[in-house]
């Protein structure tokens, strides 16, 4: 069973790497944000698998923290990353 879960973990890590490439290439902000979202979710999945594989039950607590902080950071990304559309951030009023 451990072997199967380890293989699944390797697979998820590979997916995460693909997401990394996607952020690098873009092209648009929206695509980058989507890739970041995918990285967050697959990172959490990898963490849960890793906790089971290496026998660290506290990995679930780490996953809880990560889920909350990933939500916070993605929202910050989407909000601040697009601040040029908004009016609430001085210094970021560049034209589209």
């Amino acid at each position: 069973m451990t072997e199967f879960l380890t293989a699944a973990l390797g697979f998820i890590l590979a997916i995460l790497a693909v997401g990394l490439v996607r952020i690098l290439r873009g092209p648009g902000d929206a695509d980058r944000m989507m890739a970041a979202q995918l990285i967050g979710t697959s990172g959490i999945a990898a963490l849960l698998l890793l906790g089971t594989v290496s026998g660290v039950p506290a990995a679930v607590d780490v996953a809880l923290t990560l889920a909350l902080l990933a939500a916070f950071t993605s929202i910050a990304f989407v909000k601040k990353g697009t601040a040029r559309f908004e009016t609430d951030a001085p210094g970021s009023t560049e034209a589209e």
Partner: protein, 325 residues
Amino acid sequence: MTFASMAFGSMTFALALEIVLAAVVLTGAVWAIAARETLPAVAGFVAYGLLLSLVWVHLGAPDVALTEAAIGSGLTGALLVGAAARLRLSEVPMAVEHPGVILRMPAAVLSVTVAAALAASVLLLPDPAPTLAPSAAENAAATSLGNPVTNVLMAFRAMDTLLEKIVLLLALIGVWSLAPDRFWGGRPGPRHYADPQGVLAFVARVLPPVGIIVGIYILWTSADHPGGAFQGGTILAAMWLLVMMAGLTDAPPVGERRLRLLLLAGPVVFLVIGLSGLAFGDAFLAYPMAYAKPLILAIEFAMILTIAVTLGLLVAGPPEREPGS
């Protein structure tokens, strides 16, 4: 070693996984350095931090994994994103400044040398490794806490933790002191606005209650399981910042008395308990054996509030609006 009990075949399987994990971590790191624009670089850094917390879990350090996930990746990421968004204007002329080969070559040589020296020292680490784990285990009974890391942070090396709290406050004073005189005492950062019926306002109403429960749980469980006031406090800070980002609340004026009291609560409780150790016990920060656990929990509960407020204000930045506006 988790995998030591397995057959040789699985051993290489586990090793392959570790190499894959290390490779993905380094992909994030390369990209945080090499990306042309700042925002993708920050995204790379956040992904790197996320993966690093997997590494920490694998290294048998879930306490550090929690800290890395919460502060190292999440909150630092939010801080960098905010700064990157504000500096976007200045990015265009910066591209011209890119250093030439003359600077890059020696820099590369230096970096490779440092990395090689570190790698060599990893390979040459003494065997058997020196460790203080047995003495940490022997003295664990003194506090009746089950989590060795909390023991080290709150009892054996409590002085470090107290000073670290003071470093956080000093950093906040440093950030605030950068405000122009006319804004002193005002509210930090710009006021955020969002559609009160929108999705951002919705999530800022639903997620924080969950986050507050998780944050307090992470603190509560730290007596016997991985967790702690920093990790819990960071979650609380993130939830507070989320509510601010959605425009549901505004950052408090930095001159407010209640805010100042909250900022001082943690270090003061810590100091008072530490000094009473001097009076009733053997030394500064020595807890009487029978009350060690309740005292440590009292300090941690006072600290989680202070940490949450301090971290939140550090991300919010210096005051940018005139007091009373």
